[in-house]
């Protein structure tokens, strides 16, 4: 069973450490300036080079999967939307699709288009955010400032459509809750043109600016075979040339009707990821322009009963970070029997660990940022009620004692 007491786990850990001398183990995190969310990576070094990485995640568990089992179907949709503060819409979209699969209702065509528009706006938002962070970690702050300024363009549009910048709460079962406002079309098309121009300019920058080239070229190389075996998803699969894109492979929403090209690259380093995400941004901007100009008329939602028929169904879709996967099981009641959600960062973490091997310690922030990690997403489940705040206070002294006991159990015994 899973139950090892804390002390037994410590003993095992320290036994494992005996293989390596104390100098070549570097703890990275859980609180580290290069990580915006708390995760712990145990880096084992040989000189400056990383030979092994052991992850420990779960610092920001919120217990969503357990919590979902005691909440009504529709309430869960908005709860799962709060899994992530960046790709929030795609969570509710995928959960919604999984549940809709159990019912007999068809989603109106207009709702499908609106879902596509919002999902693509979100992708642009996420990719811009990432490019900015990449500039930050590569030591190119100007890029960070510029890109995050342009990100406001997307956030303003999202706010105009949904009333909110991040948590759009646009989805509901078999439709969307809000229609596109009147007269938005020209504004969206014009703003998308602006973003395409900016993205082209940034592409030029990352290709010529020496800071970016030196920090990213040749860093974090993996082969397509490795990426495939490690089940990499999204941009992490596409940057080595694998054609994994759920929008194309298994179209959902209106992706069958909106033309677009899948972007892949061959180089397989962090620099390729930068260019890949900027190219995808341009593709998304063009998709949005097309979708708003071809928006069909009609209803935006169908009302469905609160009881979902028994059965099991899964759905996946392409989040900005890669494939997002939901599995739902219903026993025909008002609450789900089981909801499983798998976030792209969880799928990409083994690939990131592989990318880190052979890199120097100085490259760790760049490589870890390269996968566009969202640890908050990854840690979504455990045993806490999200409605109540997690209260876990430790005094500095307790924390220090815990740290000493964790790393040097013998020293604590002597006292």
């Amino acid at each position: 069973m899973s139950g090892q007491t804390g002390n037994a786990a410590h003993k095992e850990e320290s036994a494992g450490l005996m293989k390596y001398s104390a100098e070549n183990l570097v703890p990275f995190g859980p609180i580290h300036p290069a990580l915006k969310e708390p995760e712990y990576f145990k880096l084992i070094l040989e000189g400056e080079r990383i030979v092994e990485v052991i992850p420990r995640i779960g610092y920001v568990h919120r217990g969503l999967e357990k919590a979902a089992e005691s909440r009504p179907w529709v309430q869960n949709m908005y709860m799962f939307e709060r899994t992530c503060g960046i790709c929030s819409f795609v969570h509710s979209l995928t959960y919604g699709q999984a549940v809709e699969g159990l019912t007999i209702y068809e989603i109106p065509r207009r709702a499908k288009f609106i879902r596509t528009i919002i999902a693509e706006l979100e992708r642009i938002h996420s990719h811009l955010l990432w490019v900015g962070l990449m500039g930050h970690w590569a030591g190119f702050e100007t890029l960070f400032m510029w890109v995050w300024r342009d990100r406001e363009v997307v956030l303003d549009l999202v706010e105009a459509i949904s009333g909110n910048r991040i948590h759009k709460s646009m989805n509901t079962f078999c439709g969307v809750r809000r229609d596109m406002p009147e007269g938005m079309e020209d504004r969206i098309v014009e703003r998308m043109k602006f973003l395409v121009d900016r993205a082209n300019y940034y592409k030029q920058i990352v290709d010529t600016e020496e800071t970016m080239l030196e920090r990213t070229e040749g860093v974090g190389r993996i082969s397509p075979d490795t990426a495939e075996k490690l089940c990499a998803v999204g941009p992490m699969a596409r940057y080595v040339g694998l054609k994994y894109d759920i929008r194309l492979n298994d179209p959902y929403a209106a992706y069958e009707e909106v033309p677009f090209d899948i972007v892949t690259r061959k180089e397989g380093d962090v620099h390729a990821l930068l260019k890949l995400r900027l190219d995808e941004l341009i593709v998304s901007a063009n998709m949005i322009s097309y979708a708003v100009q071809h928006l069909p008329s009609g209803p935006i939602r169908i009302k469905i009963p609160p009881i979902i028929p028994a059965g099991e169904h899964s759905s996946h879709s392409e989040a900005p970070r890669g494939e997002i996967f939901y599995y739902v099981k219903s026993s025909g009641g008002r609450t789900p029997d089981r909801v499983k959600s798998r976030q792209p960062t969880m799928a990409n973490l083994p690939t990131a660990l592989e990318m880190l091997k052979g890199q120097t310690i100085a490259d760790v922030p760049v490589v870890l940022t390269a996968i566009d990690p969202c640890f908050g997403c990854m840690d979504r489940m455990s045993f806490l009620d999200i409605e109540t705040n997690r209260r876990w206070t430790w005094s500095g002294e307790e924390l220090r004692k815990y740290g000493i006991n964790y790393y040097f159990p013998e020293r604590e015994k002597k006292r």
Partner: protein, 160 residues
Amino acid sequence: MSGVLLPQIENLAAEAKTKSTQLRKGETIVEVDQSQLKNFIKRLVTETNARHLSTITGLDLDPNIGIIYHFWYERNTIHVKTFVPKTAPTALSIVDIIPGAILYEMEIHDMFGVMFTGNPWMNKKLLLPDNWPSDLPPPLLKNAKTAEIRKRLGLEVEKK
């Protein structure tokens, strides 16, 4: 391509002495016995195009624990379902076939208490805190109560 995939899966299922059921369009489920599972998955990823493992789901189906491996290729999702008894929750790890499954197995180990023999990181915790009491049931089993877990971990919140 999907025209080829589904007959291939039917064949594989027949060889594992089970059969594949189409849940709905594009979704196939195969219930495979624990003893046949590793061989089935090995042949699935080497002989067919369904090589990408989306994730592994654990299910509390009293008296068993269900484990579902979700694969996909193009417009087809293949759920490979297997069962382990709750009294002896041990399953064979597929890390040697699909290295990317390592974290998913650790997650099920944490959340359902299933031991995957052959997974090198089974002695580590991935998601649960280090001070998780060993006598509590794994959190995603139906008999694990949120209130009790919160109490035992000292995470109770004072109500105003």
